[in-house]
Symmetry: none
Subunit: 393 residues, 2 copies
């Protein structure tokens, strides 16, 4: 299926925001075996959007529009698509009911007629509900072309795509199947060097490394007729990768979203262990991440944030044991960051002390870190602490 | 001048990379007073690129192409533009000399005929030298349309734009000047309703609202011959906006990057006040943000994270006062989130208790919040707490 993406929003054309939706949708389409041949961005302008729809309708079978579904006057994607297709806008009942619930539970918020435009769809569309916002999306076919309308805010677009649109598009026989391997403790260039021969000769499955803060992911992809067929090929490649050098040690999880903190949270739940945390120099970032990953679970016992930076000392193990006792948790984790004096503005050097206390004793670790900024060092220190917990558990 | 951007590269269409060049070029064009009306991305495919050039040549006066200037077979931007304009490719002497120097100083590197393609330009072009790479760019006018070719790697594109292209484009006397107003505590649709007449009749200055998590920004822009001229017009519009309803109360800062936590951090520094924080139900998020905004400053005294969610009670003021005393801070801030029982999966309802203690007493506040997820509620609760501190300081 030939597809193209149209992002609507003047803020893209003035450079206020980056069109990250195009990347997300392109990746998802690739996974579904849909070929995306064009991206377009156009402003909140009816005439120009109409001209873009005119071009798109002649060259593509699937046209995905995103943005311009909000409550303001300049949000005109649905109106313009309706005009282009010679249809009118109608209210979607489910979206209206959601709007009603939203305003009923927020007595302070003023409901305006503009809000109700968010619950409209092009007549004849299949509505796409919005799990993360008020604007409803839609899908409609006319003259052999399928038009899809999605909201602009990335959190809403992603949720709507995954929950409402993907099941409708998922009909091609050959699909792209992927498996993401996540590594911590090894750099991208080192990983790529170890895998150079595989990367050079790749055709199918393909292999794409990607560096994130403090970790590297490796996406293995293959086009196949079934999950089993894909699993067979991807499993072979994965085995070939993990048996090289020490890669199996650096590998910690599968999945695009499955971060180190998620992995640790799952282990805590599995092993039925609660954790309390003391942070010095990371300002609450570690607790913020751990508590979010443990949302709805009783395994984060709370903790302490120490305002000053860490100092050269062995206080971490006492802190870890202390917080464990104080908050009656199964585990006490302490992390302390000491910034080294030779740090410069764009090259921050730090020493990180980590200690993990349990009923059976205390284990600890020191790591030297280098980062581009203070925020970068904080993130790396948290990852080190999480990796330490993962290895100890 | 009406302009559009065309990015060439299959890696954009498969979602492997984000088209950040489009944002950079859009921002730069806006600063130069050039109106960008379209962005397009197309793959490394001659036929499709020709069709995109066909459309662009009819609607724009300036067409900026980027990407596809590299040494590999699939890099075909210059060849395709030459074919489109009915011209041939010729070697640029300066670029060839640079290629010679490059390979002379790297005896190990093998020079192939493909490398020399990087030194070609469309016949009749003005060459744009590349301060950060080997591929030369170009600018050519034909039939009233100016075509520009830039390299794809962002570091090369940025350097070439700034050093070689910008001086050629910088001929317009009028530039775009902007001012961003930030509001907290008011929804986008409510703000837009209050400003409906201004938004409807806008020509210059223009007014663009943008909703972020928990806040709304309003970008005021005008084309002017000088900063003074722009300031005069933007100031007038700003006054007109802020005197409406209670908008002055909701307004808290200027600037694209100047978030609520930044504003609070600046106030703390200005007033020389340190702050200690207790969080219940926000898991350390508030301390993580405050400590980051106060990096390098001695005003974050540390705090506590309570693992369980908040309960219906007035404990917040005791907590705020307690942490202030314990950590000997000037201010003690406590925030506690209680999730209401009628919450559903996509509509989380919460009550947030906030208390701020200082030597002169304790002030407190309760707010009802609704959000799409637990993470959303955490963010909103932190913003409420920050807004309370901002108003109290």
């Amino acid at each position: 299926m030939k597809a193209e993406l149209i992002a609507v929003g003047t803020e893209i054309l003035t450079g206020q925001i980056v069109n990250t939706n195009a990347q997300f949708l392109s990746e998802k389409c690739a996974e579904l075996g849909i070929d995306v041949y064009f991206h377009t961005a156009v402003g909140d302008n009816e005439k120009r959007l109409l001209s873009v729809l005119e071009v798109a309708s002649k060259r593509s079978e699937l046209v995905i529009l995103c943005g311009g579904l909000g409550p303001t006057e300049d949000d005109l994607t649905k109106q313009t698509l309706a005009a282009f297709l010679g249809r009118k806008l109608v209210f979607d009942e489910k979206a209206m009911a959601k709007l009603d619930r939203f305003f009923a539970s927020r007595p302070g918020r003023v409901r305006t007629p503009n809000n109700e435009r968010q619950a409209q769809i092009v007549e004849g569309s299949q509505a796409l509900q919005n799990p993360a916002g008020l604007a409803v999306g839609g899908l409609i076919e006319q003259a052999g072309v399928t038009y899809v309308v999605l909201p602009g805010p990335p959190s809403e677009l992603r949720a709507m795509f995954t929950e409402s649109l993907q099941p409708l598009l998922n009909q091609s026989s050959q699909q792209l199947y992927s498996r993401v391997l996540r590594f911590f403790g090894i750099g991208e260039s080192q990983l790529v060097t170890i895998l150079a021969d595989l990367i050079d000769k790749q055709t199918d499955p393909t292999l794409a490394p990607y560096a994130k803060v403090g970790e590297v992911t490796l996406r293995l992809s293959t086009k196949a007729n079934s999950q089993e067929e894909a699993d067979f090929r991807l499993k072979q490649l994965e085995e070939d990768i993990l048996q090289r050098d020490k890669l199996r040690e650096y590998f910690y999880a599968y999945g695009e979203e499955n971060s180190l903190v998620q992995t640790v949270a799952e282990r805590l739940v599995e092993k039925n262990k609660s954790i309390a945390i003391v942070e010095q120099g990371t300002g609450g970032l570690l607790q913020s991440e751990v508590s979010l990953a443990l949302t709805g679970q009783p395994y984060f016992s709370g903790g302490q944030v120490i305002g000053q930076l860490g100092t050269e000392s062995g206080r971490c193990s006492e802190e870890a044991d202390g917080i464990r006792e104080e908050l009656q948790a199964d585990l006490g984790l302490a992390v302390s960051v000491l910034i080294k004096s030779e740090s410069t503005e764009d090259n921050v050097l730090a020493k990180v002390y980590i200690a993990l206390a349990s009923t059976s004793g205390i284990s600890q670790k020191e790591v030297d870190l280098g980062g581009y900024s203070w925020q970068h060092i904080r993130q790396l220190a948290c990852l080190q602490a999480l990796d330490f917990v993962r290895n100890t558990l």
